[in-house]
């Protein structure tokens, strides 16, 4: 039997390979739908300059249908882009050199697609930008051709910009809800200025976040660093600037490349800097591509396209979500891996509950998204295990938590689940330095506590004998026992335990 060959649309592909996009089963489907919509919402709020307020509404409907509604007060979606944003696979807001959460052009549309297949329902979108009025849409996807089908489109104002999306899917809400709650809780650790309200079957189940009113630094869109440019990118830049000299192409397209650096780079690549784009041979282009990697004269990439959580916000959020007594923040970078700038920041905290394990509990985050699964082979887990915590922890005394967040223009995920970060040496090195520093802080605090504990004990012993002496002296002098307590408590000034019993 000869095989028949044909081509399929991206929508068709993901429809057949749902598991690839996190829609492998009824539980995952609900979780992933919430996740994709919430991450889109938070990205949409990033630019609005307002404090994000996200409402997640989950309702169990008849025959295991679940309706997932996520509302935000973000920038809204421009009228002309709504239908494609939700009804066309691999369509989205431009992919640029800048920290963001979602996967370009997949997430939300995948949820719409899954909902359509499993429940026949159209996605409902109600959005309004600052400039345009509000619009309400009902959309389906023509899966075979990967184009949106607009069922209805009406003008409907909202009080201010923002987007509300409702998707009906076949799913298992009961099994998914704990996971969703955990995900939202962790989300507010790295997006502490966001307020998230979770409603399940119309009952307010949790109100999370807004641990701080402080807005994070908005990541600035920046040009790519030359070391991040592979041959593919370079070819495109040259094709788009056929008429320009290779020198000005370099200066205009990349960060950290001025006229001087460009000239040195071109000498390094043995190319005439006056050559124009169209005249470059394939061989010359790949020579230039190789030179971008081997040239050592570039300044490290600019970190302004990143948006770490920051000391105050990170400490505040951890204290707000976990019962901790000791808390310390650290940060490394901006550093670079393959031309991608990155920052690693972390909080080490310890509570009063008893510690069962000899390694701290690890919470991982990447570009403000919590990573809840596949921890075992993650770079941060590896680093955590490299440290001999027994040296720092008061073993068995305190539960220790470590929160690590990687900000980068590109997260090197290990595999499709997007839940675990690859062992990139540069990231590993910075993370190790970060955690070692935090561990030392913990050790210091532990010693202090221990020390203080001991001195308090001493003073108690002393107080006892002092009373005895007083009593003995009094009986010798056949007088009343003198008032010792004031004297004793005087001795205890400065210690954090004034009372003595």
């Amino acid at each position: 039997m000869a095989a028949v060959f044909n081509s399929i649309s991206p929508a068709e592909f993901f429809y057949r390979n749902r598991h690839m996009a996190g829609f492998g089963n009824a539980t995952l489907a609900v979780y992933s739908t919430v996740r994709e919509l919430v991450e889109n919402s938070l990205d949409a709020c990033e630019d609005s300059g307002r404090l994000p307020f996200i409402i997640v509404d989950l309702v169990d409907e008849s025959h295991d249908f679940v309706s997932v509604t996520v509302a935000d007060n973000g920038t809204g979606i421009p009228y002309q882009h709504v239908s494609e944003s939700f009804g066309k696979m691999l369509f989205g807001s431009k992919y640029d050199t800048r920290q963001k959460r979602g996967t370009f052009g997949l997430g939300a549309t995948m949820a719409v697609l899954y909902g359509q297949i499993t429940t026949e329902h159209a996605v409902e979108v109600h959005t309004q930008t600052g400039t345009s009025g509000g619009h309400a849409y009902r959309l389906l996807i023509d899966i075979e051709h990967n184009v949106p089908i607009v069922e209805s489109d009406s003008t409907l104002d909202r009080d201010g910009p923002g987007t509300t999306v409702t998707i009906h899917i076949k799913g298992d809400l009961k099994r998914a809800q704990d996971r969703i709650l955990e995900y939202l809780r962790m989300t507010t650790i790295v997006t502490p200025h966001a307020k998230v309200l979770l409603r399940i079957n119309r009952i307010a189940t949790a109100t999370l976040g807004r641990w701080t009113e402080q807005l994070p630094s908005v990541p600035v869109v920046s040009k790519p660093h030359p070391r991040a440019a592979d041959l593919e990118m370079l070819k495109r830049l040259i094709a788009e600037n056929k008429q320009k000299s290779v020198r000005s192409i370099l200066v205009e397209s990349f960060q950290q490349v001025g006229d001087h650096t460009a000239a040195r780079l071109l000498r390094h690549a043995a190319l005439d800097s006056r050559k124009v784009g169209w005249s470059l041979s394939r061989e010359e282009i790949s020579r230039l591509s190789a030179a971008l990697k081997s040239f050592d004269g570039f300044a490290r990439p600019d970190g302004s396209c990143l948006s770490p959580v920051g000391r105050d916000s990170f400490l505040t959020s951890v204290k707000s979500v976990f019962p901790v007594s000791f808390c310390s923040y650290g940060r490394r970078g901006p550093s670079e891996w393959e031309g991608n700038p990155f920052v690693v920041e972390g909080v080490l905290a310890s509570g009063d509950s008893v510690d069962e394990s000899d390694v701290p509990v690890l919470y991982r985050f990447a570009n403000k998204v919590p990573l809840l699964y596949d921890a075992s082979d993650d770079v941060f887990m590896k680093v955590l295990k490299k440290i001999d915590w027994s040296k720092y922890c008061v073993r068995g005394a305190r539960q220790v938590y470590v929160f690590v967040h990687l900000s980068s223009t590109r997260i090197p995920y290990r595999a499709a689940g997007k839940q675990s970060i690859a062992l990139v040496p540069e990231i590993e090195a910075e993370a190790l330095t970060l955690l070692r520093g935090l561990a030392r802080e913990l050790g210091k605090s532990a010693r202090e506590l221990g020390h203080r504990g001991r001195s308090v004990k001493k003073m108690h012993e002393f107080a006892k004998s002092f009373r005895l002496i007083a009593k003995f002296g009094a009986s010798l002098a056949e007088s009343d026992i003198p008032p010792t307590e004031r004297l004793i408590s005087g001795l205890f000034e400065g210690s954090d335990n004034g009372r003595v019993d």
Copy 2:
């Protein structure tokens, strides 16, 4: 800053999200490239009727470039389809209701794409079908537009049909090679009629397989079962047969639906069986779609589209790859999950090496592909743990292995890695019955061994005293000791230990 919206090609998408397709890092990249090419090769051999012979050639080249070559003696790729098969994402041989290995239209092209990005090399393809002569190609992908760029195309005959593909990628061969060897070893367990030769840096590292000359049953392409049809599929079938009556559409499009069943189904759906495709309203179509799920009059799906390994081949391959003394095969099905037929088969084996754990070692397979990772949440692992093995195993005496293979027209993968199977109740139930049966076999053999051991011991004791009696009698009779050995060995007839010392 207002976001800029745009659309990207599938090639562009997967280029940006390599990790999704298993190309997250330099080690995975080599492993995945081998895997995708080998699975395509084995699928191509399936129809050829020849015994597959696959050569995997891995060479470390300068600056961490690796060249991966996979050659097969399969059906070859028709001339007009070669360039798109390797140079266009989401293009492949038609997706039909039939057991096969690869993911449609992704694998090989993803490897080509990754190679092009990391090494600038074109993929080299040399293929020949039974009818056409041989052709040699060098191809690249226009990533921005997802179309192939043919660098060269020449006629070059091979001795017989087959395909040889060479991809140059940036990768870490040292780290990948153990994983690749394990993957190929396990592959020959479920494809025992295939011979696989692995060469690393031009040295023959391993020759695996061809454990049997017996060809497996070739899976027959069959129509989908009505219960497997979702609304999307139904809509398309109706659109393709506008002029036909809904009754004949059902009979012609689905298996297990004759005129009689179709009539009953349509009554169940309250639809007039003479209505023609174009006249069906959207509401009527979704009513029909719902009826396909709720109607209980369908025969279970036909299993001829499946190709299990089979008793003889499975037992032979396990014995060939593992040092085992006891071996037992079991099989369940064809059964059904959501209209997809499936067969679960397994081999339980025990070797003489000592067993460390109280649960057998589990090896999982799906559609003749070994699943090497994410075992923890897999349906087979769950079933394995449900069984109290201490009841069956001679604890601490023998290493026990369990090999389980799921054949189905659709494998319900849990997540993107395609390494772990979801907890589908129907599959779980069949797997449990299968393993229980195999466990009982193991128990029986264990008891027999124990019993036989004891009886042999008894006879040895008896033989000793018999000799003493003979000796004693002889000395009494002052005669020579009579020849006892023949008599004794006579007693041992039937036992598996005739000799007595």
